[in-house]
Symmetry: C2
Subunit: 316 residues, 2 copies
């Protein structure tokens, strides 16, 4: 049952990650006609039957609106996903990504998958990889075009990506495992033991003490400060309940310290992602006298629209 | 049944840590008459009945040789141990530690416990704590007296301690959680997944690549290199089986990088502890052009003998 007031759907856009699955029905200019999400990330689909999940997710859209093109980004294109979409080398841009979509035959329509991006070794750079973030970045460049000539995009999360933009291209990037490091230390190390289960409000003072401690460690880095999460508690400087926020501040603070050590001058900066997590990064950045860093709102569906357009998927 | 050829026992010395328990029967000059060990660290004694474990450990020695003084060091003196021995502040030395033994009434003889050492906050130093290592250090200073005026002792392990010695005193120290960090990342993070269970021989090339990568990261530190454990594998530069040794090299390498960043000039260096682990540190040090670092053999029982002597326990 179509709604005559709504613009005509042109694309099914899917962000299919490790732990979540989101889909949008998009009309011209990426207008969102409908949206849905499910806890059906690739890790939650134990039997690997991605075809059934996809059919159930979009079947009614196709039944209602006809055969639409479908495009997905994220870990669905990894070895552990539906099919492996090869990496495109960095520097990467809209054209190089759009040229390399992987087509998977599926019901009710074929699914195209955006390749990941690999930064090869060399010129003093470590190899690095992303899957899904490249689409966020291309979306962000449409939302915040002032960054397209020169910018630094930060995508906090389990594996936080810092992506350097130059001349509309994704030029280089570094992955910081800050989120995963926090999770494993919180859950499995001696540093996580004293605090009980997570309490709701953030202990801002403890978080900022962690950030400042990481900042002031200078080149000695987090290796020399990590144990202070415990020793400050034993010395009576930190309550047991405050240790997780201190640890979070210490790890995010060390990430910022590391990024600043690697840059002579920081390009214009934007944060993309979860509001609460971006809030932590913004608070930590302020301790380094970097204020007023703006957020770019979630940009995955904008990025998928742009890539689909560049790949010619919308012309059918 | 005494052996007339053996010197007369004078002290029961006990190193009672988190995961292991070792005891020695010592004669003059710390000569080892008998030794035993058990997997009865404080974490393995679920019911907290340390008294029974102690009685079973040394009962026959007392029955054979009479009422000997007993002295223990390590986590047995922590809040989770038998009784809490307060920390002595840093700088600490033989006299300040010997003065603050905690006496616990026990069968067949009372047990004295060496206090831990706390480095208070201040003068740009983070607070830090140790329990057990102070005794190793005092033993090492007797074994390697050339370090007593100025030296740096490294005690690799779950929580590696770097201890600065000046004028026969334990002057300052820093804890590096390298061992625990490796264990939680190996077991619980995405970095540990690709490799199967531990294989026996160390992959030296992968270990050294990790060390070099950490060294060459400079001030950016381990935050910027940790994910390379995975990305190098995805880029085909590292086999899945080699990733644990690469990660080990990366973490030990970052520890050394951090220590060197904090020192203008490194004092004379010695390693104490597990042979295989000291071997990894020695190999990593060589990648920083620090060669021929000698080991000090296990020094706990020497340290216990010295402390017992300074405390007057041997005069009875």
């Amino acid at each position: 049952m179509t709604d005559d007031a709504k613009p005509t759907p042109r694309l099914i856009a899917v962000d299919w990650g490790t732990s979540s699955l989101r889909a949008w029905l998009l009309a011209d200019q990426g207008y969102v006609v409908d949206a849905r999400s499910a806890k059906r990330g690739i890790m939650q689909i134990a039997d690997g039957d991605f075809a059934t999940v996809f059919r159930e997710l979009v079947g009614d859209w196709v039944a209602t609106y006809g055969e639409l093109p479908a495009l997905a980004c994220g870990m669905i294109g990894s070895r552990g996903g539906w099919a492996e979409a090869e990496y495109v080398d960095c520097p990467a841009d809209l054209a190089s990504l759009a040229k390399r979509l992987l087509r998977v035959e599926a019901e009710p329509v074929p699914l195209h998958i955006v390749p990941g991006v690999m930064q090869p070794s060399g010129a003093g750079r470590l190899p690095d990889v992303m899957r899904g973030e490249e689409t966020q970045v291309l979306g962000a460049l449409a939302i915040a075009p002032e960054l397209a000539e020169r910018g630094l995009l930060v995508l906090p999360g389990t594996h936080c990506k810092w992506v350097r933009i130059a001349d509309q291209r994704l030029n280089a990037f570094t992955t910081y495992m800050t989120g995963e490091l926090f999770a494993v230390l919180r859950e499995h190390s001696i540093l996580g033991k004293p605090a009980g289960p997570d309490t709701a409000p953030v202990d801002t003072a403890a978080f900022e003490l962690g950030v400042d401690t990481a900042r002031d460690a200078g080149a000695a880095g987090v290796a020399a400060t990590l144990f202070s999460t415990r020793s400050r508690m034993l010395a009576g400087e930190l309550s047991a309940e405050a240790t997780p926020d201190y640890l979070s501040g210490l790890l995010i603070g060390d990430e910022l310290r590391s990024v600043l050590a690697a840059h002579h001058e920081l390009p214009p900066l934007r944060l993309i992602g979860d509001q609460a997590l971006c809030g932590r990064y913004r608070r930590a950045l302020a301790r380094f006298d970097i204020d007023d860093v703006a957020d770019v709102p979630d940009a995955a569906c904008t990025g998928l629209w742009r890539i689909a357009d560049a790949a010619g998927l919308l012309s059918h």
